[in-house]
Amino acid sequence: MSDFPILSAALLLPILGALLIMILPPRQESSIRAVAAVSTLASLLLSLGVCFGYDQAKGGMQFVESIPWVRDLGVSYALGVDGISLPLLLLTNLIGFSAVYASWHTEERVKEFFALLLLLISGVMGTFVATDLFIFFLFYEVVVIPIYLLVIMFGSSKRVTKEYAGMKLTIYLLIGSAFLLVGLIALFVKGQALLGFPSMDIGTLAGVDFPVTFQIFIYCLMAFGFGTLLSMFPFHAWSPDGYAGAPTAVSMIHAGVLKKIGGYGLIRIGLLLLPAGARYVAPLIAILALGNVVYAGIICLNQRDLKYIVGYSSVSHMGYVLLGIASVNLISINGAVMMMFAHGVMAALFFAMIGHLYQQSHTRNVGDFGGLAHQMPRLAVGFMLAGLASLGLPGTVNFIGEFTIFVGAFGVYNLLTILAISGIVITAVYILRTLGGVLFGPRRSEWDHLQDLRGVDLVPLLVLGGAILVGGILPFTIMDLINSGVGQLLVQIGPGSVGGIF
């Protein structure tokens, strides 16, 4: 069993599912859904298996697979997971599985929809398990195509048209990846010069002692590329419009995991390969993070469309992740990884609930609703759980992430952290206003025809809600894993102090 390529299996199952769907006749919608459900479930179970099988005491990259691919470039198909990528792999599968159920009632072009969705899930998963820069970048680019098609084919037009949203999303992703590509090539070339042989392996390149000015320059490119992906202020403009235009499943995956590739890249590639550069630029990132937290949070107060609220709020929450990364210490980065997981499940749950509501009511305007808890108590539970997680209530995994980041960041940036913590008040205001506006208040008879969650609709609530609560009530289950990964990474890069850019 130890030789079984479990990561490859998890990675390829959705692709297999997509291929199978492509050869099925378009009329057989129920078999198409079944294939999607089974392949994502299998991936989810495999990644859970990896979680339980991962030896925390040993740490490091495990479940490693490596097949040489392009020898001249030092590229190999290399996979592996450690304490940082494993939670994100699990997150991808939790959300991917839920996303299939959240789109269960898709009626047009079912075949295309699920095939693209499965492709998207595989692509995102690949970025987290790849230990080779080339493979990482390859999967990252694989993600872009299904996203674009899904948005323009299945999206919705409100404040902006779905074509605009899809275009904006895609172009931002591509601009980010262009900068990234330059950075990766530079790393490869410089690495080859210093090593004497070509290598794209992250672990090998991490051993190279790049010159400090080179590190700073390349890290800036990376920070721009990954930062755009993570919707770092002021490069966040794609996020609210993109989510608003995208169909439910894409919003879930995009806000839930795709965004986290940015944070993951900043840690796994930025910090591990370019520690001196990361530390030099960190204060600037911390300041931009404050822009995320406070600026986007305040804008949320004035939003009326549910998807814009969650969109801006996710920009705001990414500020905490950036702050954690910019503080470059064990506690803060543990918190940042935890926060990525936490925000992922929370945002996906939020979008799933909004999707269910929108599918029936065809509106997302908070003012159009009111008192929905009368008609839809289960939906109300989902909204409340996502909302309370969003405002960082203890008992939800989001609290663990935020609290840990605050502790880690406070010692490094006193004032910035204090200002960032004010975000907990801002978040409470807009989340509670939104929940109050949608769920509470007098019963409105025009919504009496809405169906509450039932049957398969409950899957996202149970899976994602369960993850929120398990992580919040028993945080050690996830945090110990993260800590083993981050701890090792920080030992590898060695001690150092943050700052220099100002």
Binding site: I171, N302, G371, I424, P442, G487
Partner: protein, 624 residues
């Protein structure tokens, strides 16, 4: 008997289990849900009694502690633990007793409500969170449960979510508390960074010897933010009066044993920090004293029975906080305990009245209830006498300890303020009683006494409101102070002079209320008219809610609009501008691709000529 302490973790866990069971399975059967909830808190109450017996048989100074690992990494450690000492034991009893009685009472009060199952599940998690807070052994854990208590109050205040007023009150409560928690969290972070631990006993060992006392000043001010929000001290008091939008038993719970008690309890728990910084102690005393007076003033003119009680809670919380500030921590906790009994009694009795009158809350529309609802009336009177501090009822002993603490501690101003508040308290409570219970009787509708399931808890609480004070009286040699104490807490022998003065002041308050509202020597209406501007100012709560609403509109909402404009016009504008630039340059340049070969040839020739010119110039330059 040590075994009982080692299972004391069950006390908070049982209500949580009840919450989980109701939420997941039992909500289809409301009666079963209610039964499970009541049994859970009932068992917790019995366990608390056993735990308290064990603790008090061991003598003061005994601390039982265990923890389990919860969130741990190098440099940060938050355990889930239990700490049982006399202070925690007293709080456990108070919380479980009041929560149990409130839940039993709710069986009658909430009968037939469609949300009965969720009501009891919220009650359970509320009690569980509060118990978790009480039994916590570190600041991380207390913050976790602190926030959960806030969330539960949000759920319960907004329980009748169909009413916009209930929804708004719930949001107000949560957000106001969050502002306090913002400071509280910062204080906790400071502790974590500077001392590297959040455990009370570890901190208590380090802080007195800490080399830089100046650092303790910001820490303790920030920590005090928490109680200001949760115990509704000025200027974050605005949520508590609105919190009466919840069902009345919930108000009883919030105002007596859970929620607001948490803030006072925190000050007592962290007394080892606060007592190190005299400036902060003075600040605490001043905030408490001001809140006591300020709220008592507002209570004088309110017409809604629950609102009067709500402002009296604010005022009494101010009293407790003031006690903490003058160093009389024991007196503050003693008052917290007695207040829990008589305030929950008053709210439940008020609920009994409201229940009988189909939701009427205006005291001027009541009247003559004493004949129709004797149990409710007389228990309410006992509660009011206890609150007014008439000997030998519970409130008398505890209020007196606080006044004594202020006087003996050298805070003459606060002593006088406290005495004035005692007078006002007696006056407004008996204004309410003479009007609502003994007045002329306005309504002709048939009014009946509430069922035994509601009057039973009233009678028990009335009994406790009479006897609970004896624990801290000279009659029992002040056994309470013997156990509940901390380094830096001052104890003073009871002074007959102070006792006599405060009793006379309270009696004078009752007498004045009797003159105006029963004998009607002067008509209340005339007074109101003569002092209309003052009346308006006080009746409208000094317009503080309006001020906050205005600030929210002008600063917060306008700021949000401004930033949204920036985001749409500037940031998105730049993005769209760049896109437009790219697009238009493409549009402009496409005219160069016409498909006409002659034109291409012309461009090629032009290019060649330019290149040749460059080459020529380079050659000339080389020659020169």
């Amino acid at each position: 008997m040590q075994d009982i302490l080692s299972i004391s973790w069950l006390i908070p866990v049982l209500p949580f289990l009840a919450f989980g069971a109701i939420g997941l399975w039992l909500h289809r059967w409301p009666q079963v849900s209610a039964g499970v909830s009541v049994s859970a808190i009932g068992i917790s109450f019995l366990l608390s009694l056993l735990v308290a017996l064990e603790v008090f048989s061991q003598g003061p100074g005994q601390v039982f502690q265990v923890s389990v690992r919860w969130l741990e990494m190098p440099g940060l450690k938050v355990d889930m633990g239990i700490l049982v000492d006399p202070l925690a034991a007293v709080m456990l009893i108070v919380v479980t007793a009041v929560a149990l009685l409130v839940q039993v009472y709710s069986l009658g009060y909430m009968e037939g409500d469609p949300g009965l199952a969720s009501y009891f599940s919220y009650q359970s998690i509320f009690a569980g969170s509060m118990l978790g807070l009480v039994i916590a052994n570190n600041f991380g854990q207390i913050f976790v449960f602190w926030e959960l208590v806030g969330m539960c109050s949000y759920l319960l205040i907004g329980f009748w979510f169909g009413r916009p007023s209930a929804r708004d009150a719930a949001i107000k409560a949560f957000v106001t508390n969050r502002i306090g928690d913002f400071g509280f969290l910062l204080g906790i972070l400071f502790l974590a960074i500077i001392f590297g631990t959040l455990n009370y006993s570890e901190l208590a060992a380090r802080i007195p010897n800490y080399h830089n006392p100046a650092v303790l000043l910001p820490i303790s001010i920030l920590l005090f933010f928490g109680p200001v929000g949760k115990s509704a001290q000025f200027p974050l008091h605005v949520w508590l009066p609105d919190a009466m939008e919840g069902p009345t038993p919930v108000s009883a719970l919030i105002h007596a044993a859970t929620m607001v008690a948490a803030g006072v309890y925190l000050i007592a728990r962290a007394f080892f920090i606060f007592s190190q910084v005299p400036q902060v102690m003075l600040l605490i005393a001043a905030v408490g004293g001001f809140t006591a007076l300020f709220a008592a003033t507002i209570a004088l003119v309110q017409n809604d029975i629950k609102r009067i009680l709500a402002y009296s809670t604010l005022s009494q919380l101010g009293y407790m906080v003031m006690a903490m500030g003058v160093g009389a921590m024991t007196a503050g906790i003693f008052h917290l305990m007695t207040h829990a009994f008589f305030k929950s009694l008053l709210f439940l009795a008020a609920g009994s009245v409201i229940h009988a009158l189909q939701g009427e809350q205006d005291i001027w529309k009541m009247g003559g209830l004493s004949q129709k609802m004797p149990v409710t009336t007389w228990t309410f009177v006992i509660g009011a006498l206890a609150l007014a501090g008439i000997p030998p009822l519970a409130g008398f002993w505890s209020k007196d300890e606080i006044l004594m603490g202020a006087y003996a501690g050298g805070y003459l101003g606060l002593y006088l303020l406290g005495s004035l508040v005692a007078f006002m308290t007696a006056f407004y409570m008996f204004r309410l009683i003479f009007t609502a219970f003994f007045g002329a009787g306005a309504g002709g509708q048939p009014v009946h006494e509430s069922p035994p399931v509601m009057t039973g808890p009233l009678i028990i609480l009335a009994f406790l409101s009479v006897v609970a004070g004896l624990l801290g009286s000279p009659l029992t040699n002040n056994v309470f102070a013997h156990y509940i104490t901390a380094p830096g807490v001052a104890h003073h022998a009871a002074s007959p002079a102070i006792m006599l003065t405060s009793s006379l002041l309270s009696l004078a308050g009752i007498w004045l209320a009797w003159l105006i509202y029963q004998k009607q020597v002067v008509r209340a209406e005339d007074l109101r008219r003569r002092w209309a501007w003052l009346y308006g100012l006080i009746y409208n709560k000094f317009y503080i809610d309006e001020l906050y609403a205005w600030l929210r509109r002008v600063v917060v909402d306008a700021g949000a609009r401004a930033l949204e404009w920036v985001d749409l016009k500037i940031i998105n504008g730049v993005v769209n501008g760049l896109a437009y630039l790219t697009g238009s340059s493409g549009r402009a340049l496409r005219y160069t691709v016409t498909g006409q070969v002659q034109a291409y040839a012309a461009w090629v020739v032009l290019g060649v000529v330019i290149l040749l010119l460059f080459a020529l110039m380079a050659a000339i330059a080389a020659m020169v």
